[in-house]
């Protein structure tokens, strides 16, 4: 055996240490572990997610044909701070018609990096909407109850519950000293300690004294929202990916509909 390797052999050895199939798969880079996951995934689930995305009401408004110019990636905030590119999203969606695994390669983590700012849509000369495509892929991931989606939504459960049952998402009681946003610093602690008195003194009647909702929402309004969530399939989506929240909201919706029946 020779004591040294040629430059070409060294390069081949180094490349051999990489997951070459993942790196080169379809010519479209992404997160390599997601590419590996897609190789192990159930082909039926991959096809189902692909079909779900391509039959979405907004799909043909969001996807035209990618000319690979990269304008979208150039203005993308997630591209600057994460391993994400909207051009890749559109390219993978484009080729997923024949290769559904390309779309599946993005569902575990890739799509969740998107900031949903829609700068990509604003600058696309072909009128694609990569941010919109990400939103409908997220929808499909939630509907299919993927394990990775459940993990992604875990820290979100309080917010999902709050929105579904009050009609408002961000509320003053999130300023409590043990809840979200601790990185807002001493100011947050100061606000938390005076929350009730500050809130009581807000000079708008619909806001004053309300801490568990963003504003005072009529109970009948909340019932209408719960009916919409039930009838539009939102509660089923919640049950797929955030089961505890889905179960609680379903009970609330059933009570709302019973109240309506009594009223009628």
């Amino acid at each position: 055996m020779r004591a040294f390797l040629t430059r070409a052999e060294k390069a081949r050895t180094r490349l051999g240490r990489l997951n070459q199939q993942g790196w080169l798969y379809g010519g479209l880079p992404g997160l390599q572990w997601e590419v590996e996951n897609a190789r192990k995934a159930d082909p039926e689930v991959m096809r189902s997610i692909r079909d779900d995305v391509q039959s979405h009401a907004a799909f043909h408004d969001y996807y035209r044909a990618c000319i690979n110019c990269g304008n979208c990636t150039a203005v993308c905030p997630a591209f600057r701070f994460a391993d994400f590119g909207p051009r890749i999203v559109v390219q993978k969606v484009m080729h997923s018609r024949d290769e559904p695994e390309l779309l599946y390669q993005m569902v575990d983590q890739y799509i969740w990096a998107c900031f949903q700012c829609y700068a990509c849509w604003d600058v696309c000369p072909a009128q694609n909407n990569p941010g919109g495509l990400v939103a409908i892929i997220k929808e499909a991931a939630v509907r299919h109850g993927l394990e990775s989606t459940k993990k992604t939504l875990e820290p979100y459960s309080r917010i999902l519950y709050k929105l579904a049952t009050t009609g408002t998402q961000i509320t003053p009681d999130m300023h409590s000293s043990v809840a979200l946003f601790r990185d807002w610093g001493p100011h947050k602690a100061e606000l938390a300690s005076h929350l009730k008195e500050y809130r009581d003194a807000v000079p708008v009647e619909t806001l004053a004294g309300v801490t568990d909702k963003s504003w005072n929402v009529d109970p009948k309004t909340i019932d209408e929202l719960l009916t919409i969530e039930k009838e539009s399939g939102v509660i089923d989506m919640l049950k797929s990916s955030a089961k505890d929240v889905g179960d609680v909201v379903e009970e609330a919706a059933a009570e709302a509909m019973a109240r309506k029946d009594d009223h009628d």
Partner: protein, 405 residues
């Protein structure tokens, strides 16, 4: 000859792309508006028109279409993030309306648009988003008040779902079936109007009531992505403001109030909010907001205040300054909404009305430069809070009598 700057070249490239290359999108948008009127004629939906009784003012949009902005009898489509975390946003807006004698309706029969959650978590769908939109719009129509949308994301989401409702018959019928179960039907506003477009059209009236000298105040502006990047054709531009190349609201109000406007290189970047990131991956939002927005803004402009017109932008740009400052970074700038800034200029109380104490980045130097005695005002606020604690009713800001209830 001077070399064009990088940001100048970008401006030109963006203008060119909006003018020519995205013509298809603009045409489709205009076609949607035509179809909306056809559907109204066929009785398939009810359009909430910007009637003359709403005393509208006409602006031009990016597509150069004329858009009528109602100025009175406004149904306040509140923002969950503003009302929950930045109450001065809505109190300042109502205070301005009361000062100008603009009647409005502040309804408890309103839900949030639910779109922040949708963009963040994917746990909704177009049928639900459309039904929520139309439910709220139906309430406004019943009250004969024109919806004024406070949140940039609600405004962007409503533009998207209005497009789907008009262009997709199947979706429209599914939404109609759901609405019938709650005793409502499809009502769509003829124009979707963001509150900052309203502030833009009444800016001269704001300026007439200005009490503070703002000529030494240097303002930088961040426009919200969901206002002008989602369905970009429909947001307000004005040839007299920034040569008509960037959105007119906020900048036009600051200029009308006599402040200076400063420009910065990363103006097109988002704030870093990210919908999901601001809630569950905050390091990402914080780093983006500080290193792509706050730091370059302060280094390039030494601005006194950063103004914006959306829930997420105020939150992210303001709250993301805490951790970097704790790590020894020096750049900081107060963040306010255009409504709060205008109300302060018109003499509103900084704490009772503008609720500035809910903001993190140090606003004291700004108040001082505006000629406001922050310490005195804070003592007045504390006294007011103590009185409320003892049972006094807050000084509620109420709508003037409506012109046609």
């Amino acid at each position: 000859m001077t070399e064009p700057s990088a940001s100048g070249l970008f401006d030109r490239a963006k203008f060119a792309s909006n003018a020519r290359l995205t013509a298809g999108t603009t045409e489709e948008y205009l076609r949607m508006l035509e179809r909306m009127r056809e559907l109204e004629k066929r009785g398939e939906l009810c359009l909430h028109h910007v009637k003359d009784t709403y005393q509208p003012t006409t602006v031009r949009t990016l597509s150069r279409r004329e858009k009528r902005i109602p100025t009175v009898d406004l149904w306040q489509h509140k923002s969950c993030g503003q009302c929950g975390h930045i109450p001065g946003y809505v109190t300042a807006l109502y205070w301005i309306m009361a000062e100008l004698g603009v009647p409005f309706v502040d309804d408890t029969n309103q839900t949030s648009c639910t779109a922040w959650n949708y963009y963040g978590s994917g746990t909704s769908n177009p049928v639900a988003l459309s039904a929520v939109f139309v439910r709220n719009m139906h309430v406004a129509w019943q009250k004969d008040a024109y919806p004024l949308i406070h949140c940039g994301t609600s405004y962007g989401d409503y533009k998207e779902v209005r497009y789907l409702l008009v262009m997709n018959d199947e979706l429209r019928e599914r939404v109609r079936t759901i609405l019938q179960k709650i005793g409502r039907d499809i009502v769509i506003p003829e124009e979707l109007v963001h509150y900052s477009e309203w502030l833009h059209v009444i800016r001269d009236r704001l300026a007439e009531r200005r009490k503070l000298d703002l000529s030494k105040i240097k303002v930088v502006v961040h426009s919200a992505c969901h206002c002008y990047k989602m369905m970009s054709e429909d947001f307000t531009y004005d040839d007299a403001i920034l040569d008509g190349l960037r959105p007119a609201p906020i900048t036009s109000v600051a200029l009308a109030l006599g402040a200076q406007i400063a420009d910065y290189s990363n103006w097109y970047d988002c704030c870093g909010f990210g919908f999901r990131h601001i809630l569950t991956e905050r390091e990402m939002s914080r780093s983006f907001a500080y290193f792509r927005k706050i730091q370059p803004i302060v280094r390039e402009t030494q601005a006194d205040v950063l103004l914006t017109h959306d829930t997420g932008c105020v939150t992210t740009l303001d709250k993301s300054q805490v951790v970097p400052l704790a790590h020894g970074y020096k750049e900081t700038v107060p963040v306010l909404s255009d409504a709060q800034f205008a109300a302060l200029a018109m003499g509103a109380h900084p704490f009772i009305v503008c609720q500035v104490h809910w903001h993190v980045a140090d606003w004291r130097p700004l108040l001082q430069k505006m000629g406001i005695d922050a310490e005195k005002a804070w003592n007045e606020y504390r006294e007011y809070v103590e009185n409320v604690k003892r049972g006094m009713k807050p000084n509620f800001i109420r709508s003037p009598p409506r012109t046609h209830a």
